[in-house]
Symmetry: C2
Subunit: 499 residues, 2 copies
Amino acid sequence: MAQQPTTSRFTNPSPARPSSLPDRRPSRAVVEPVRPVVDGGAFAAKAALGEPIVVLADVFTDGHDVVAAALRWRQAPPSSGEENPWRETAMASAGNDRFHAMITPDELGRLEYDVVGWIDHLETWRRDTVKKLDAGLDISSELLAGSRLVDATLDATTLDTDDRARLSELRSALARGESTATSATLRDATWAEVFWRCSPRAPEAHLSRPLPVDVDPLHASFAGWYEFFPRSSVGDDAEGSGGSDDAPRTVLDSIDRLDHITSMGFDVVYLPPIHPIGITNRKGRNNATTATPDDVGSPWAIGSSAGGHTAVSPELGTVDDVATFAAACSERNMHLALDIAFQCSPDHPWVSDHPEWFAKRPDGSIQYAENPPKKYEDIYPLDFESDDWQGLWNALADVFRFWIGHGVTVFRVDNPHTKAFAFWEWAIATLRLEHPETVFLAESFTRPRVMERLAKIGFNQNYTYFAWRQSQWELEEYFTDLATRTVDYFRPNAWPNTP
Amino acid sequence: MAQQPTTSRFTNPSPARPSSLPDRRPSRAVVEPVRPVVDGGAFAAKAALGEPIVVLADVFTDGHDVVAAALRWRQAPPSSGEENPWRETAMASAGNDRFHAMITPDELGRLEYDVVGWIDHLETWRRDTVKKLDAGLDISSELLAGSRLVDATLDATTLDTDDRARLSELRSALARGESTATSATLRDATWAEVFWRCSPRAPEAHLSRPLPVDVDPLHASFAGWYEFFPRSSVGDDAEGSGGSDDAPRTVLDSIDRLDHITSMGFDVVYLPPIHPIGITNRKGRNNATTATPDDVGSPWAIGSSAGGHTAVSPELGTVDDVATFAAACSERNMHLALDIAFQCSPDHPWVSDHPEWFAKRPDGSIQYAENPPKKYEDIYPLDFESDDWQGLWNALADVFRFWIGHGVTVFRVDNPHTKAFAFWEWAIATLRLEHPETVFLAESFTRPRVMERLAKIGFNQNYTYFAWRQSQWELEEYFTDLATRTVDYFRPNAWPNTP
């Protein structure tokens, strides 16, 4: 209590170990959050622009007094510290101490909400007086008590003109004394609304702290994704023919696919990695350990002398071509999604420029990826325990910044669960502060807690177990879990496979 | 992240809005609490002296490295700020990222626990090397890498003699090179235990803050209660006869009931209020509004010229008699529970000494209790919105202190849900800091959130809906809820009725 003298809050940052009384009387009302809330407010819940958010909270008091509640929300203050104004809306009772309200976010980025509860002494008085009227009891004392409450309200608060007029009218009715007209005035249920606005609220109860909600663009919450490799794409005239004998097609060539894709109703066009592919230890067809001159290698073996994560494989085009392709998607009300796989071929510029970002074997060579006995010599993982982890984190965040600067705002992140959680939490928060329209999809098929953690720390969408749930009961159970336990933060992208 | 540079914690007090990197590399491990935890740590969970506490947490990392976890706990620091030392025990994996450990509290009062997770690089290396052995691959590079890890461990940490010897032995085996003996050494599963103790842990992951658990005496968690009115009690020789024609019996007379009560296996002897009963507006039999000279009135109409909540009704005895009775209970391994009902008869000393502690009607008279159209003119409720709420709160806490000083440590609190939650939270925390053996039972039959709140803010036991659950499915559903959703804080006292 000592930390929170003015309010009774649902969470006490350090549960009460008081040795002295609070300085000011806490509210008799209490507020407990119900939803949306993720791990008690440790992580932001998710919402989408223009989509209603239903906020539920339990608001109650000791005894039998009437409590009232309001939802307050605002854009979260930026780290610079400037505060945005709170907006407020009434919460309605749903019975059994639960209150609800609905707001519709109209701005991207983080908002925060608080729930405020107070005892409505005017409405308590009105309800109890009507009870006595109903029981045929004398209410002269109640009329006096009510007059005092109304006087105090007229004195104490800033009322709008209409409310002041109504309260003055009530004051006159009470002064008139007990009568049929006075009884009718008291029974008028619309007082509850007037009192909600006018009743003195102090001391109010609050949540222990405002709860965060990240407002995403709508396509973060629902979208159809279309995946293709530009080099293997075919034009409109050959659609469905399953291939082409022509030379590999470029990103610009692929623009002619977009009208067909949009006509099928897709929202996102997703390209697997388009970066230069390494030469050293390049894999051949079907994972052959030596490549023929015709083999392009795995697009996930990223980087060559032509560049790394901010370059485009020359046979596919240029970064400007990607910007053009992204704009062509936008013109068709679609979003381009790039595949971001934070791993390097042995030929990636970072290998020579920043060897400290990679783990070494005892002989000093860089450790390639392996899952014993399997070896992936064409891929070097990044070392998130590098002594220069700060340089690495900044470089990785800059990869996203680079593509955002070229019109890409959706990223399908490859295997995020093999990179440090703390990195993602920092990177996504930072990037969404700068560009709240950015969407990150976690391409992660792994254990439940790991996938859920990725959602908590900021990924807007997650891959799911959908492809592994086949019978009716499995699907029902799984989607019920997604629609209940994790619904505030884990958005399923029921993508059936991965290339 | 900015607030927590050294660790990756499950709750970020203010969810990440970073504009710069953390100062130090966060752990790649993360820790999420599972139980016991009440509202994210806002309230203390409950435990009992000598009864094991099972702590569950999810501990995991990105990628495939081996994580290890420890449970740390200690007596919570008193408000004076002196810190108690942490104790530590290993947590075992239960699969799917969940870890568990069991501790048995050996001291009353608040303890706090933390869960610590780290990446065990030695065990990761050993597991991966054994995988390569199993696949028949060359492990010469792994032997070198292992030697370096072991060297760093021998350098860097304070090891006990046995562990140092074992690590030196491992170092020799690795230096010996690949051989059957080396393979056998590597496959020895007992390394996991050694490495748990020896592997460098920094940077560790922690809970966002230690979680509180209140350790109660065992009879707070399980006890049979026996209720009787001393004035109506009969002696051993008349047991079961249903009454006595003798004069009302006293507290001291009632000691002769105790052997019979303890023989039935009861743990707590509960006396309804024993205080002086008011004269003004005293109720007669069956709630008659006028009392005859023989009517004793309701024991819940507390206070007369003979005193209030710290006095004993003269016909029952004295406060010293109550202390004697409490001692007699203790001698029989039982606990005396007093009924504490914070309300006053019009004759209570507080009415004249502290009229400001009561709500007034417009005519200046004190407001009696009512639930329109019902009136309880023999009872004045206390006003928790009094301007002198601090004086009132202190006086109420002093009532408990007074009886604790006379050997009473169990209190059946009457209707706590009609007094301010913030008062109980403060009073119970304060009293249990002074007297951690004290037990508070909430006599509260009301709405679910209100009863649960009373449990959260410190009541050790709560009345339940047991008496209203009659069919099998109702009982199953209700007790399942008590045994799952609220199990960490709500202790059911399945008392069937109230007098």
